[in-house]
Amino acid sequence: MMKKHSIKISNATRYYPGAAKPAIDDVSLDIAPGEFMTFLGPSGSGKTTLLSIIAGFVTLSAGSVEIDGQDITNLKPHKRDLGVVFQQYALFPHMTVSQNVAYPLRQRGVSKAEIEKKVRHVLDLVQLGDFAHRLPRQLSGGQQQRVALARAVVYEPRALLLDEPLGALDKRLRDRLQLEIARMHRELGMTFVFVTHDQEEALTLSDRIAVFNNGRIVQIGTPTELYQRPNSLFVARFLGESTVMEGPNQGTSIIVRPEHISLKGLANNCSEGELSKPARITDIAFAGAHLKVGLAFAGGAIGSSLITAGNPLSFQRGEEVLAVWNRENQHAVANENVAADSAAG
C-alpha cells in the first residue's frame, strides 16, 4: 500500500476572461489522505474547473492549492505528480497499450526492466494483461478507460483525479467500471478525486461528496448525511427524489423521501407521531423491486412514494389517497437555492 496524501484548497477563485461570474468562487476544501472525494453538480457548476485547478491545467485567479502542506499553486502540471483520467480516455493513439502505460514511467527515468515489470503488474490489475500489444483503437470504450486508469496509477501518483470517467460509456459498462474504480481505490489506498453529475455514481462510490452549484460548494458530507440531512432544496433535489411541501416558516420547505411515504385509504386515521396529507395518484410505475407511485397534493405540490413490489397495491391511478409519513422522517430545508436550481436545470 502506498503513502497517502492530503489535498487542501484555500479560497480558490477563478475568473474566465469575459465571464461576469467566476467559474469557481472562493472555494475552500480539505481532502483527507486516502479519501474518495466526489465533486457532484450540474454542468457549469464549477466541479470540473476545480479538478483542473488541482491538476494544474487551469491557473487560479486567487487562492491556493496544497498537497501535504506543500504549496503547488504555481507548479506546472507535469511537476505535480498527480494522475488524471479523462472522460474521453485521452490514450495516445499511435502507441500500444503497454507503450501508453510505460509513458509516465519513461518520463521519470525508470529502468527498462522495472518499467516492464510495473506495466505488466498494472495491466493485470485492470485485467488487460492480454491486450498489451494492441493499439487503443482496437479496444472497446470500457477497455480503453481501464488502460487510462492503469496509465494514471502506474507511477504511484500522489492522488488520482477522475473527470467524469464513466460519462462516455453505456449503462452496463458504467456499472462494471464503477465497481472496478471502487476496487482500485480499496486496493491502492490512494486519494481519489472524482467528478460526476450522476448522483447514483456519487452515492455509490464516495467517502464524501461536495455538491457544487454556481461555482460554490453548497454542501459537503458523507452520502448518508447528504441524503438524510440536505441543507437546501437544491441538494435535496440533486441527490435523490423527494416530496417537497411548503414549510412552516417563510423561505423554508418540508421534504420527505419517497421510501418514507406510505399510502392509506382516505377513511384511515394516522397513528401517533405520523403526519398525513391527501393526494391524488398521478401514475404507478413498476421498477423491479419497487412500485413508484406519483402523487399530486392539493395546493400543487408533487411527490412520490416508493412501495415494495411484494405487497399488492390496492389503489389505482386517479384515486384519492392519504399520504402518510413519520414526523421524524420529514426534514425542513432552506429554499435559498431554488432559483439557482431551476437555472441549472
Binding site: F57, H78, R80, F92, R137
Partner: protein, 266 residues
C-alpha cells in the same frame, strides 16, 4: 442488396467517365509530347521523333550548366522545404492557441502568397532584396521560396490539427512530460501525415518556381526552370525536353509519396 451498392458496382456513369478522361487528357497530354520528344536522335525538337536516342539526356547530365542548375534547384528546394516546414508547423500550432478571430485574420495573411500574382511578388522581392543585398544569393532565393511555400505547410498541418484532440496534451503533461517532450513524442508524431505532406508540397513548390527565381537570377545562380527559359530564348535544342522530363518525373514521385502517405492514416 441495396440500390446504393448496386449502383456503386456498375461504377460512375458515362458522362462522368468521359469528363474524367477528357480532363486527364488535357492535363497529361503535354507530358506525352515532352517525354517522347526528349528521346529523339535528331538535332532539333521533333514530335514524334523519327529516331530514338538518349543523347539529349547525356547532354543534360554531362553539361556543367544544366547539372549545376539541377543541383542548385534541388539544394534550394531542400532548404526551402525544411525551413517552411519548421515555420509552417509552428505557425499552424500557434494559430490554434490564439483567439479564433485573430487566428482567422492571421491565416488569411499567411495565405497571401497564394493569392498575390507571382509577378507582383517577384518585383517586390527583387526590389527589397536589392536593398538588403540578398538578390542573386542562394539564401535570398531560399527565403523567398520559403515565404511562398509556408501556406502549403500551414494548410496541410492545420487540416491534421482539426482532428487533433487537445486533451492528449493535458494527459501527457499530467503524466509528467514537459512541453517539448509532449510536442516531440505526442503532437508531431500524430501530425506526421500533415507535416510530411506539407514538406513535400513545399519542396515541389520551390523546385517548380519560376517567376521569383527569374528575378533573382545571376549567371551563377540559375535554377532549372530559369535555365530552361534562358536556353529556349537562345536556341531551342532537345535538351530542354530532357530537362522537362526530369522535372516531371521528380514532381510525380513527390506527389505519389504524398498520396501514399495520405492513404496510410491513423
Amino acid at each position: 442488396m441495396s440500390l446504393f451498392s448496386m449502383r456503386r458496382e456498375s461504377g460512375p456513369g458515362l458522362f462522368l467517365r468521359s469528363m474524367t478522361l477528357l480532363t486527364a487528357i488535357l492535363i497529361v497530354l503535354p507530358t506525352f509530347v515532352v517525354i517522347p520528344a526528349s528521346f529523339t536522335a535528331g538535332e532539333t525538337f521533333q514530335f514524334p521523333p523519327q529516331e530514338w536516342s538518349l543523347r539529349w539526356y547525356e547532354n543534360f547530365f554531362t553539361s556543367r550548366m544544366w547539372l549545376s542548375s539541377l543541383l542548385q534547384s534541388l539544394q534550394i528546394a531542400s532548404f526551402t522545404a525544411v525551413l517552411a516546414t519548421v515555420l509552417g508547423v509552428s505557425a499552424a500550432i500557434g494559430l490554434t492557441r490564439i483567439p479564433r478571430r485573430t487566428g482567422a485574420v492571421l491565416k488569411l495573411f499567411f495565405s497571401l502568397p497564394l493569392t498575390v500574382p507571382s509577378v507582383v511578388i517577384g518585383i517586390a522581392i527583387y526590389a527589397v532584396f536589392l536593398k538588403w543585398h540578398l538578390a542573386g544569393t542562394l539564401s535570398g532565393l531560399v527565403l523567398a521560396h520559403t515565404a511562398l511555400a509556408i501556406p502549403f505547410v500551414i494548410t496541410t498541418v492545420a487540416a491534421s490539427l482539426t482532428g487533433y484532440d487537445n486533451t492528449l496534451d493535458l494527459a501527457s503533461s499530467s503524466l509528467g512530460a514537459g512541453g517539448i517532450t509532449t510536442l516531440l513524442r505526442i503532437k508531431i508524431p500524430l501530425l506526421a501525415p500533415g507535416v510530411i505532406s506539407g514538406f513535400l508540397f513545399a519542396f515541389v513548390s520551390s523546385f517548380d518556381e519560376f517567376v521569383v527565381a527569374l528575378f533573382l537570377q545571376t549567371p551563377r545562380l540559375r535554377t532549372l526552370p530559369v535555365q530552361m527559359y534562358n536556353s529556349i530564348a537562345l536556341d531551342m535544342d532537345p535538351t530542354i525536353s530532357a530537362a522537362s522530363s526530369v522535372i516531371v518525373v521528380a514532381t510525380t514521385i513527390t506527389f505519389l509519396l504524398v498520396s501514399l502517405r495520405a492513404g496510410n492514416k491513423f
